[in-house]
């Protein structure tokens, strides 16, 4: 079995990639603008919910409970979905999933597919596998279309093209859609996408989707979306194939009421997204008359095996942690080298694939905790980042200074008297770098900590010292 997550195994280490991204001021402006807008909308619609914390608690508990019984709920889903006319496939890794899907498309005699936004298929690099088999995939989400036509990579979980502005998008559309003229207003660009895709929606015989939720009790599948491209792909083709991570199952239909409140408010700052589609197997006379679902592992059971970090699988892919993250807001998504960017990407990618391909990702964070605060299912991302850093250090792949520092921190913090002593030495050692109470340009291998931000200098008197004098 070989797990790969997009092209993350061959991606540049985060610090190198981030340096390039930070140098691109247009990209930083685009990312900052987009994340500011979503954050403001999200904060507004979350604030109007008196029971937001109770919803978060319920969401977290449902996900944790599901993970503790994942085998039972998957089997229950399989039974209910099959009974309703769906065909359930299982895939150990990305290549196996791609093979199943390519074979199905060929079996139904199609050489093209229309796709609803699915991060999971980006993870398996399904499009590459389809194209290698002579099958043309058409991405239909507007942002995914921009990414596909621009021969680009997604940079955000919810808004994959937020690094592009209207002028860049206009140029891509004119070139790839063969248009002589095109306005530059978002309305004009959206209308061009509608026209370009409509004929394909009505013609193509096979649709491919991901899913936001699988409901064990009923065998139903749920797709949450805004543009209607999802409904098109789920409804008009003769055949529908969905590729879904095993962690997406939830026990009961009733549980959906929690996530249909948490997800839209967290993801796009809407009270409800324009469309949710819920279907159960095949409905005679309505929609695709053949439905296949591929349940994907690709490293997820490895994440499940670590009790310290298995809550990573609770993620509902809302992207709120990206918008809140001071590091993501500077670097954008591409620096993470994975289809999963931002804080959730920094913990998910290194756990899914083997650590040595993404060992810099757990360091792509200031541990400020903003991600944890906005997470609708309360994933303690900072704690998992620290856990993963420990693993990197233990594996011997961490930079030497980092390794010594981490060991030193563990040594010092395990006993209060040592911590006091360490503080005293640190105050002595920091003076050459202390600039008005901020540390900048730390030397050598520690430079990574201060290259893009200043650390607060250690005050002349610690809280412990002040307290003992009182």
């Amino acid at each position: 079995m070989s797990v790969h997550v997009g092209e993350a195994a061959s991606a540049l280490p985060f610090p190198e990639a981030a340096k390039k991204m930070v140098a691109n001021s247009q990209l930083r402006r685009n990312v900052r603008h987009a994340t500011n807008v979503i954050r403001a909308k999200r904060d507004r619609v979350v604030a109007e919910m008196d029971d937001w914390e109770q919803l978060r608690d319920a969401g977290k508990a449902i996900k944790d409970h599901t993970l503790a019984h994942l085998d039972e709920y998957l089997i229950q889903f399989e039974t209910a979905c099959s009974k309703a006319g769906g065909q359930v496939h299982w895939a150990r890794d990305a290549d196996e999933a791609n093979r199943i899907i390519v074979d199905l498309v060929k079996r139904y005699g199609s050489d093209e597919v229309i796709k609803v936004k699915t991060m999971t298929s980006d993870e398996t690099r399904l499009n590459v596998a389809l194209e290698a088999a002579g099958i043309t995939p058409f991405e239909t989400d507007l942002a995914d279309l921009i990414v596909q036509l621009g021969e680009d990579k997604p940079s955000h979980i919810v808004v994959p093209a937020l690094h592009r502005n209207r002028m860049e998008i206009r140029e891509i559309f004119m070139k790839k859609m063969g248009l002589d003229t095109l306005g530059y207003l978002p309305e004009d660009l959206t209308a061009a996408a509608r026209k370009y895709l409509r004929e394909r929606f009505l013609r193509v015989k096979v649709g491919i989707s991901g899913a936001n939720y699988l409901i064990a009790e009923t065998g139903s599948v749920v797709v949450v979306e805004s543009e209607g491209n999802g409904r098109m792909c789920l409804t008009l083709p003769e055949v529908l194939i969905s590729i879904v991570g095993v962690e997406k199952v939830i026990p009961r239909f009733e549980d959906l009421e929690v996530f249909l409140q948490l997800l839209p408010r967290s993801a796009t700052g809407e009270r409800m997204n324009p469309y949710n589609s819920i279907w159960t197997g095949v409905t005679p006379g309505d929609g695709p008359q053949a439905f296949h679902i591929v349940l994907l592992d690709n490293g997820r059971t490895k994440v499940l095996a670590d009790p310290e970090s298995r809550e990573t699988l609770d993620c509902i892919r809302c992207g709120a942690c990206l918008n809140a993250c001071p590091v993501y807001r500077q670097t954008g998504g591409h620096a993470y080298g994975s289809v999963y960017a931002g804080p959730i990407g920094a913990i998910l990618t290194p756990q899914l694939q083997s650590m040595e391909h993404s060992e810099t990702l757990p360091y792509a964070s200031t541990l400020c905790g903003a991600c944890y605060e906005v997470c609708p299912v309360k994933i303690n991302i900072p704690e998992i980042l620290i856990h993963l850093r420990t693993k990197v250090v233990e594996s011997g792949h961490a930079p030497l200074a980092e390794r010594l520092a981490m060991k030193g921190a563990a040594f010092a913090m395990s006993k209060a008297s040592r911590l006091s002593l360490a503080h005293a030495f640190a105050r002595l050692g920091q003076w050459p770098f202390n600039d008005d109470g901020k540390l900048d340009n730390l030397p050598g291998l520690l430079a990574g900590w201060t290259e893009f931000r200043d650390l607060d200098a250690i005050p002349s008197e610690s809280f412990r010292e002040w307290w003992s004098k009182r």
Binding site: H33, A34, V37, D50, D51, D57, A58, A61, I62, D64, H65, L67, H89, W90, E96, I100, D141, L142, A143, I146, V159, L162, N165, I169, P186, T190, A193, R194, L197, L202, S220, S226, E227, R231, M232, L236, E254, V258, L260, Q261, T268, R271, M272, P274, Y275, N276, S277, I278, G281, T283, G285, D286, G287, L295, D297, T301, K302, L304, A305, R310
Partner: protein, 206 residues
């Protein structure tokens, strides 16, 4: 194929460790304390927020209301599902029932008129279970204009209340519609109308 199934399930069982079970706290609000008139007002407000046009009328005045809307929109007719009540239809317009129309027919139409199954005030959501008065999924998707009749007894206040009614409609496919299709993919500017109907109009019937 079955070997993959057994392998994935075996990895899960090996990974799970001991039973980490806990009860699920459901302390969130399943309902709100609003008078019926306030619920209606909130639903209309939310629809306005989504740029959907809202009309209110009584059962007897449904045909007149539909006629007025078609006149304003300069439409001569609409597609309708097979089970839509004939009593709703005003005379003098061309209503065509969807008896196996092609996608091209749907695409070339002036729009579609349907009923709904459930509506949720707090989120301005209409739920369609694609029963005979709502039609198959493609019927409310491919046309560019959707006129939807919502009875007040179909309206609930909260998402949990709506979900309870939706549960009773399974295994029918369910579509929830909250305003016209939209995107914010370009510079986070919300554009109303992408692939689904670009115009949504609602008649609330007392």
């Amino acid at each position: 194929m079955s070997s993959a199934r057994e392998a994935v399930l075996a990895s899960i069982r090996q990974a799970q460790g001991g039973p980490a079970d806990q009860s699920i706290p459901r302390l969130y609000s399943a309902s709100v304390d609003l008078a019926p008139a306030e619920v209606v007002e909130q639903f209309a407000d939310r629809l306005h927020d989504y740029n959907a046009t809202v009309h209110q009328c009584t059962v007897d005045s449904i045909p007149a209301t539909i006629a007025g809307i078609l006149e304003t929109r300069q439409k001569t007719g609409l597609l309708i599902p097979t089970g839509l009540p004939s009593a709703w239809l005003p005379a003098g317009y061309n209503f065509r029932r969807d008896e196996g129309l092609s996608y091209a027919d749907l695409d070339a139409s002036q729009g579609v008129l349907t009923a709904c199954d459930v509506a949720i005030a707090l989120t301005g959501t209409i739920v369609i279970a694609h029963s005979p008065a709502q039609g198959r999924r493609a019927l409310t998707l491919v046309p560019d204009y959707h006129l939807c009749v919502v009875r007040l007894d179909q309206l609930v206040a909260t998402v949990p209340e709506g979900m309870r009614r939706m549960a009773a409609l399974l295994p029918a496919p369910l579509t929830t519609i909250s305003g016209p299709s939209a995107t914010s993919d370009i510079e986070m500017i919300r554009i109303k109308g992408v692939h689904g109907p670009r115009t949504l109009e609602v008649i609330l019937v007392d």
